[in-house]
Amino acid sequence: MSSDQTFVDYGEDEPRARRTTHIRLHRATPIVPQNSVAGRTLMLLIAIMTFLSCITLGGVILVQKSAIAWSSDVGREVTIQIRPIDGQDMDSNLRASKSIAEAIPGVGNVRVLSAEESGKLLEPWLGAGLDLTVLDIPRMIAVELSDPREFDADQLAENLSTIKGASLDTHSAWRQQLNAMSGTMVLTGVLVLLLIIVATILAVVFATRGTMASNRTIVDVLHFIGASNAFIAGEFQDRFLNLGLRGGAAGGLGAIVFFIIVGTVSTNYLPSEAGSQLSAFFGRFSLGWDGLLLLILVVPIIAGLTALTSRMTVRRFLTQIS
C-alpha cells in the first residue's frame, strides 16, 4: 500500500468523516508516564544526592583554595631566629643577620621584630600579662621574599652560620603538613563524591527496575507494535533524564544557596574568633566563579548519569524478557 493514499474509502460516510478531521496538534504525551510516586521519590533522592555532591565538592574547592593561599603566603616569607647566647651581643647579631639577609638575591623587605613583638608571639602559649623581660627570649627577623624562585635558602643559611645562635626557618615543615592535610581532605572529599555517585547509580537502577515492572504493559504494547529495544530504552531514558535534570537542578540550587548563606553568616554574624577560625580553614567561604561553575556542572553530570544508568538497566531488562 502506498503511504499517500487516503486511509479508507469512506463511501457514504465521507462527508461526516471529513468534517471532523481538523485536529489541534499538541505536544505529544511521553510514552512513559512522567509523574508517579516512584518518580517524585527518585527526583527527591537525586536532589539530595546532588546537594550532598555539591556540598562535598564545594568543601573540597574551599579547602584546596585555602591551602594554595596558605602555601603561597607561607612560601613568601622566611624567619631568622637569633637565640640569646652568653657573651654575644643580641643587637649586633640582629643587625648583622639583617645585612646578610638583605644581600641575598630575591629578598625583599627585612624587618627585625622588636622584643615586644617577639614576646607577643608567645602569648598563645604563655598567656597575656606576663613580664617577659626576665626571660631570654629569642629574637626574630621576618624576611619577605620579593621573588621566591630566585631566593636561595641554603645560601642564606650558610651565610648565617657565621653568627652564633642564628638559625633559618623556611617553614617547610609547616608547608609539608599543610599540603598533607589539604591533600587528605581533598582525597576524602573525592572518595565521598564517588560513594555518593555509586549510591545514586544504585538508587537509579532500583528505581528503573521498579518503573519497568510497573510499566510492563507499556513495554509489552510497544514490543507488539514493533518498537525496538533502543526505542523503548530511549523513552525511559528521556523520563529519567527529565527527573535527573529537575532533581539535580533543585539540589544544585540548594547547595549554592547554602554556600551563600554560610558565607554571609561567617562573614557578618559569627563572633570574630569563630569567624577567623573558620576563615583560617575555608578562606572567606567564597567559591569563586570557577568553583561555582564546577558546582553547576554537577547538575548535568548527575542528570546524564541518571539517564545513562536507566538506559543500561532498561536494555538489560528488555534483553532478559525478550
Binding site: T20, I23, A28, G226, N229
Partner: protein, 218 residues
C-alpha cells in the same frame, strides 16, 4: 507469506496445546480462525505475531525462517503485523488519538504527517469526538474500536485480530468487518479469530478451525 511446518507449542513442561500445524497462508488472503474456547486460538495468534517461539517445527514469514532472526529483526518484522488484542491493551495515560498513532510514532513519523490520517480513521470508526479522551473514559466498544484503529493505522501487511467484534453492536461489527475486507482488498492478509457465527456466515472466506490443538482449513 506465512508458512507453518509441523509447528507445536507447549507452555513450560505442560502438554502441547498446539501440534502438527502445517499450513500456508497466501499473501492478500482473508481467513477466519475459529474453534471452541481453549482450543488455542490466542496461542496461534501469538505465534503469528512472533511473540512466542514454537517448541517444535519452523515458521516462515515474508520468506524468512523466524527461528533464525535476531530480536531486532523480529521486532522489525513485527512492524508489518497489526494486532487487535481481545483485552484491547490501550495505554491509559495516552489519549485515544495518541494510542492509535503509537505505531506511527514508534516508526519515527512526525505528528504533523500522520495527524490527519489518524483523525480520519478515528472518525470513521465512530471515535471522532472521543479522540482526546483517555481510555479509562471510553466504553468497552469504544476501546475495541480504538484498538482496531491502532492495529490498522500503519497499514500492516498482516492483520491479526482476536475477537475484534466482541464488544461492539451488530451495525458497527459489520462496518469493522468491511474495514478489514477493504484492507484485505488493498493487499493486507487478514486473520480474525472469532466465535461469532454471524460473521462466519456473512463473510464466506476460508476458515481455520482449531480443535484440540490441531488445525484444519475449510
Amino acid at each position: 507469506m506465512i508458512e507453518f511446518d509441523d509447528v507445536a507449542l507447549r507452555y513450560g513442561d505442560g502438554p502441547e496445546i498446539l501440534r502438527n500445524l502445517t499450513f500456508k497462508i497466501a499473501p492478500g488472503s482473508f481467513h477466519f480462525l475459529t474453534g471452541p474456547s481453549g482450543a488455542g486460538k490466542t496461542s496461534l495468534l501469538k505465534l503469528l505475531l512472533l511473540s512466542l517461539k514454537p517448541t517444535r517445527g519452523h515458521i516462515n514469514m515474508f520468506g524468512r525462517n523466524t527461528g533464525r532472526l535476531s530480536q531486532d529483526q523480529l521486532l522489525d518484522m513485527r512492524r508489518h503485523i497489526g494486532i487487535v488484542f481481545q483485552e484491547f491493551r490501550l495505554l491509559d495515560h495516552l489519549t485515544t488519538f495518541e494510542n492509535v498513532a503509537l505505531p506511527l510514532r514508534v516508526q519515527g513519523q512526525k505528528e504533523s504527517d500522520y495527524s490527519e490520517n489518524v483523525a480520519e480513521l478515528l472518525t470513521w470508526v465512530g471515535l471522532g469526538d472521543r479522540m482526546h479522551a483517555h481510555p479509562p473514559l471510553l466504553s468497552g466498544g469504544e476501546k475495541q474500536r480504538a484498538a482496531i484503529a491502532r492495529a490498522v493505522i500503519a497499514k500492516p501487511d498482516i492483520l491479526l485480530a482476536d475477537e475484534p467484534t466482541g464488544n461492539v453492536d451488530p451495525d458497527l461489527s459489520t462496518r469493522l468487518l468491511h474495514l478489514f475486507a477493504q484492507l484485505n482488498r488493498m493487499g493486507t492478509t487478514v486473520i480474525i479469530a472469532t466465535h461469532e457465527r454471524s460473521l462466519l456466515e456473512d463473510f464466506p472466506t476460508p476458515r481455520m478451525i482449531l480443535h484440540e490443538g490441531e488445525l484444519t482449513i475449510e
